[in-house]
Structure formats: C-alpha cells, structure tokens
Amino acid sequence: VSLTLTYFPVRGRAEVIRVMLKDQGAEFDEKVITMEMWKESTLKASCVSNPLFGQLPIFEDGDLTLYQTNAIRRHLARKLGLYGKDQREAALIDMMDEAIQDLLNKYIKLMFEKDDSGKEGYLKALPTDLKPFEKTLSGDKGSFLVGDKISLADYALVILLIHHQVLSPPCLHAFPSLQSYLKRLCARPNLHAYFHSDDFKNRPIIPGKRT
C-alpha cells in the first residue's frame, strides 16, 4: 500500500510527518506543490470542495485521502504503533501533543510576522512553555514523553525543539532534560541520517528565508 505526502517544498507543518515516517523506515512518495502551482491550479479548489479546508498537506494511504496535519499524524501513529500501549497512554500522548501544538502555533505566528519585533517577547515567554516538558522528562521516568516507547508527541516535540534552537541557539540552556532528550532522539539511526541529509537540510523551515 503506497503512502504519498503532498505539500509545499518546505518543512512547515508537514515536516513532523516526514520525521515520523523516516524514523520508522516507512517508504513514502512526495508530491511537491510550489506556491505558483497552488495559486494557479484547481488543487486548492478541489481541496475546498472535496474534503475541505483548502489546505495542504494532503496524505494518501492507499485509497484513503486525509487532510489536516494532526489527523494525518494520528492515523500514521495508529498504523505504526506510536500511540502508547493502552488507552490511558493514548490520552496522555494526546494531552502532550495538544500542548506541543499550542507552542507550535505560537512559533508559526512568530515566523510569519513581518519583522523581528515579536521575537524578544516570544523568547522571554518560551521558558514557561518549555517547563512542563522539562518536568515530564526529568527524573527516572523514562526516555520519552509518555511510556517507554517513542510516540506521536515525541516526533512533534523533537522537530519543534530543533527549530527553536535555530531561532535561538541557547534556548535550551536551562533545560537539561530537554537537551538530553533531544540528543537521545537525534541519535536514533534513521533520524540521525535524515537530519544530516541534504533532503532535510535544504528544505527551508517556512517559505522564504526566515529561520
């Protein structure tokens, strides 16, 4: 059964899907849509009329076509066993993931601002957002956000932390558990290979030069 991701040639909201599939060694095709193609084509219109939402990414798993990044991620997590060992872990993974999405949305808002004026305030507030994850990962609890296996939420957090270090290299200085978590996850063989690949490195975080 073939997996296909359709997205712009950026990391953006789809990168977390790529990271999950790469780490799990799941093969997938990519259809790249440039902004010009998106504006001119009927693809956007068809996204609106047939499901919906007029947005990318689109993900195809055989005859199932999905929109909404987080719905795609959850589908893959269920398929690949990345959603905890039971219902309770699944709920905690959802909880962690929702909080990560809150921070991601703030980050995206900052990235698309016209100038740097919001950056200082953002970085000042960042430790408050990172603290709950630091707390979760500290102590002898284990190597992942929930349970003893990598999950949906871990992939979202790892790429978010990587991008925050691009935004502000010292942002994890006060968070030793997050630092060691990031180091540990990035040392996973498939992720190590992917993060060092030209494929990853040459893909901008968002359209344009802002990082």
Binding site: V48, A71, H75, R78, M95, E98, D102, T136
Partner: protein
C-alpha cells in the same frame, strides 16, 4: 471508566462539547467550579500540567487539554468510529472544528466590537466544508452512522454561532438539520434545558 469530574471556570467555553457528549452518553459527572480570582492566585494552576483548565478526572486519572479529553471520551464511549479509516476522518473533522473554534474565540476575546460583522460575513466560507461533509454522509453525522466526538464538538460550536447570529445556518440545510436532530436527542435535550447548562455564560468575557 468514571466517575468523571470536570474542573473549570464557570463558563461553557472549552468544556461545552465534552459536557454535551457525556450527557448524551448517559454519564453523570461532578463539576468543580473555579473562581477566576482564586485561579489567579496560582495554587491550583501550579498543579495543572500545562497551567491550564479544563481538567477531567476519570476515576483516579487526570487529563488536561480539551481535545485530548474529547478523544479520551471518544475511546471510552465508542464514539471514535468503527475502524481506523473512520477514526482518521473523525480526527480530520475535529481538527477542522478546532480551527473554527480558535477563530471564534479570537473574535470573541480580541475583536468583538470591531470584528464581529466581518466574522459573520466570512463565516459561510468556513461552514461550507462541514455542510458538504454532512450532506455527503447522509446519516446525520459527520462520519459513520453514530455520533463521534467530532459531532459533539461541531454541534456545540454551531450552537454558539447561532447565538452570535441566529440566521447563520439558513443557507446550510444539512447543518441546520444536524443541529435540530442533535438538540432533539433526549439526553441532550434534557441537558440543554437544564439550569446547569443555561446558567453558564458561553464565554468568560460575557460576549456571545
């Protein structure tokens, strides 16, 4: 599962959908109402994983984040589709509802006086997607043939939009019918007619 306890402020807010869901599923729950001034003192806030409410307790298990709570209830009460495909479509719908909810909340709290008219004017561009799905599915629900947590979330957000603009579903017959049918489900009707529901404002700033 259960007993359930919700800890939240004295509003419908982000607990609206989960309360309707639990009511429809025949579940009883306890409400711990938090006074906002007390909240600002910080003691309870410090115990919350992300410093936020709502909190759901399911027996001894504490959960935060309203959409995580909806999904947990979905798993508990067989309201997450009959298979992986339906689950994925339900997730997609719920995320679409969340996008609309975020826009609504932004308008209510940040731009009500200046932005309300523009918001109402733009609303059909967001509702048309749900209308299309509802019309295509033909069962009276977004996905499959029984209510999922996405249906409860959509229903609740539409109820709030009808308060904002009572004619907003006039050009969306499937959504209008959906709201009517959901409202008529016996346990939902009882809940919506109750003091517990009616006494709570939708939003924390009194705007609606």
């Amino acid at each position: 599962m259960g007993p359930y306890t919700i800890t939240y402020f004295g509003v419908r807010g982000r607990c609206g959908a989960m309360r309707i869901m639990m009511a429809d599923q025949g579940q009883e729950w306890k409400e711990i109402v938090v006074d906002f001034a007390d909240w600002m003192k910080g003691d309870l806030k410090a115990t919350c994983v992300f410093g936020q409410l709502p909190k759901l307790e399911d027996g001894g298990f504490a959960l935060y984040q309203s959409n995580a709570i909806l999904r947990h209830l979905g798993r508990n009460h067989d309201a997450y589709g009959k298979d992986g495909k339906e689950a994925a479509l339900i997730d997609m719908m719920c995320d679409g509802v969340e996008d609309l909810r975020l826009k609504y909340v932004k308008m209510i709290y940040q731009e009500y006086d200046t932005g309300k008219d523009v918001y109402i004017k733009d609303l059909p561009n967001h509702l048309d997607k749900f209308e299309a799905v509802m019309a295509k599915n033909k069962t009276g629900f977004l996905v499959g043939d029984k209510p999922s947590f996405a249906d409860y979330s959509l229903f609740e957000v539409l109820l709030n939009h009808l308060v904002l603009c009572s004619s907003c579903l006039d050009t969306f017959p499937s959504l209008k019918s959906f709201v009517e049918k959901m409202s008529a489900r016996p346990k939902i009707k009882t809940f919506l007619d109750s003091e517990a529901y009616k006494k709570l404002p939708i939003n924390g700033n009194g705007k609606q």
